[in-house]
């Protein structure tokens, strides 16, 4: 049996064979992680810890494996879910007061798939209220803290997922990404975050923020683990028509493909040049590593980034306002002030505004179809700054003061509008020893190539082996 601290930071790829051969007991693993979750309570990474469920599932996994009924790489592996992913019989709050007592009658599609794969549910991760923000400073459940520095945000809206995975409270969590909410916390917490192509993973049973921008994806400590989790959750779901007609390839094998000789576009237009000096330095070093791996990096310009940003913001405001319309009218006092302001803004986006934004999206999709074919992927930083302080409202970037939300979503939100797959992988540390992320954006339905590039980069660098401070 490994030491507990090693178990806490073991990857799924390391744990799976040990569980299969019974060198590691799922029950002992769960017990160790539950103790660790308690010890790291200061992070506020969970809204609900499902200790009894986890122990029961771990015992069942252990028995099944003992009978020779091993189900695969996730059997007996602890996972957690952002608290807007429905779990049958387990409170699912969406980080809100409005749904604070809601207990779903059924599982989300992704929860069903993880359970079918034998994964063990450790709990429901803290999140920004209704996923509408990137700080995870939740007015109802308190702020989630960054494991690398407790006075910093973990990013959001899947901030509890990022903090939990970074702190070794479990090897994987599922989050959602509407404007960067998987990639931003993964980047700020120094872990891997994968937003699959729109339509790759079912959103059934996941509380929406904006239907046409929402994606579900894993946060893990290694790229290979992201591939393993994606393998389990991807695939057609008749009850989410966006997923139909897309065959599921072998992502784990794909992540091991050679990358030498691939062309990558380095996004270097004026809009994407606005980043802090520490992020720029780490990004440039990352590009040198990619080049040393045989990738051919060439500058490219993202089409109409400012127009894309405006369109994405109009779409998210309008769709979120529609989803929340009744509660905004009847229960405004039950929202935090920041969320309520955004939802109210959405009420003033007119139908013609919304449709204009969706027309621009069509234009951008066509522009991306023209831009992407020569390239295996595009690369850019995940966020233009490292983790801001909790309660910090603004960031100065290129001499301009920007809202924290606008700044952190600057390099991620546009990718949701065009639905492309994107992964963030740790690429070093910036100011105050805080993590920086490298974002790799792929062609439609080609998660395999971005997994391969990210995996090659990860294996050539030490960043994924670094751990945040232990807590006693």
């Amino acid at each position: 049996m490994k030491e507990v601290s090693d178990l806490a930071y073991a990857s799924i790829a390391e744990l799976a064979p040990a569980i299969r051969t019974r060198a590691v007991s799922p029950v002992e693993l769960v017990e160790a992680l539950l103790a660790r979750i308690e010890r790291f309570g200061v992070l506020n990474a969970f809204i609900t810890v499902t200790a009894e469920v986890a122990l029961a599932q771990a015992r069942e996994a252990e028995r099944a494996i003992g009978r020779g009924e091993y189900r695969g790489s996730l059997h007996g592996i602890p996972v957690s879910l952002k608290d807007l992913i429905d779990t049958r019989g387990i409170r699912t709050t969406c980080g809100s007061r409005i749904l604070s007592e809601r207990v779903p009658a059924g599982d989300a599609a992704v929860a069903e798939r993880l359970e079918a794969a034998g994964a063990v549910l450790m709990g429901k991760n803290a999140m920004h209220e209704f996923a509408f923000g990137v700080t995870n400073d939740n007015p109802h459940y308190g702020p989630t803290r960054n494991p690398w520095a407790l006075d910093r945000i973990p990013g959001g809206s899947s901030g509890g997922s990022g903090a939990a995975v970074a702190a070794g409270l479990g090897p994987a969590s599922l989050g959602t990404d509407t404007g960067g909410s998987v990639r931003i916390p993964a980047s700020l917490c120094g872990v891997v975050g994968l937003k699959p192509t729109y339509g790759r993973v079912s959103r059934r049973g996941v509380f929406p923020l904006a239907w046409t921008l929402d994606h579900v994806g894993p946060l893990t400590r290694t790229v290979e683990d992201a591939a393993i989790v994606l393998q389990a959750i991807a695939g057609p779901d008749p009850r989410d028509p966006s997923t139909l007609g897309h065959p599921v390839p072998d992502f784990v094998a794909g992540s091991r493909q050679p990358v030498s000789g691939l062309r990558v576009g380095v996004v270097t237009d004026e809009y994407h040049e606005e980043m802090a000096g520490d992020v720029r330095a780490q990004f440039r070093t990352a590009l040198e590593v990619l080049t040393s791996l045989g990738l051919r990096a060439e500058p490219v310009a993202f089409p109409r980034p400012n127009d894309a940003r405006t369109s994405a913001f109009a779409v998210i405001l309008a769709e979120a306002a529609s989803i929340h319309e009744d509660w905004v009218r009847d229960r405004p006092g039950d929202y935090g002030p920041e969320t309520l302001d955004l939802l109210r803004q959405g009420l003033f986006v007119t139908a013609t505004h919304y449709l204009r934004a969706q027309k621009v999206r069509a234009l951008l999709l066509r522009a991306m179809e023209e831009l992407l074919p020569p390239y295996a992927a595009l690369v850019l930083p995940t966020t233009p700054v490292v983790a801001p302080a909790i309660k910090q409202k603004a960031i100065v970037l290129a001499g301009r003061e920007m809202e924290v939300r606008g700044s952190l979503t600057r390099f991620t939100r546009l990718i949701n509008l065009v639905g492309l797959p994107a992964i963030t992988v740790p690429c070093g540390f910036g100011a105050d020893g805080l993590p920086v992320g490298l974002q790799v954006v792929g062609r439609p339905m080609d998660e395999r190539t971005i997994l391969a590039i990210a995996h090659s980069y990860e294996q050539a660098t030490p960043w994924h082996t670094r751990r945040p401070p232990e807590r006693n």
Partner: protein, 76 residues
Amino acid sequence: MRPTIDDLARMAALAGVVIPQADLERLLPSLAGLYQDVERLRALPIGGVEPAFTPEPRTEEAREAPDARGAERPDG
């Protein structure tokens, strides 16, 4: 078009939502900025473009098929 507080109050009333005057005043600068940005989108060549609605990007095989998404359609 730059919205006024009265515009916002009327729109909120039409939507059946009561928003205190002080809150509308706080929202006004953000909304004015948004309206200005969305107004600028009119300058793009979107006249005959059908809205995308979902971001399903097309794979290379699908792109070769006729009726590619985002293709301009004749007005009317």
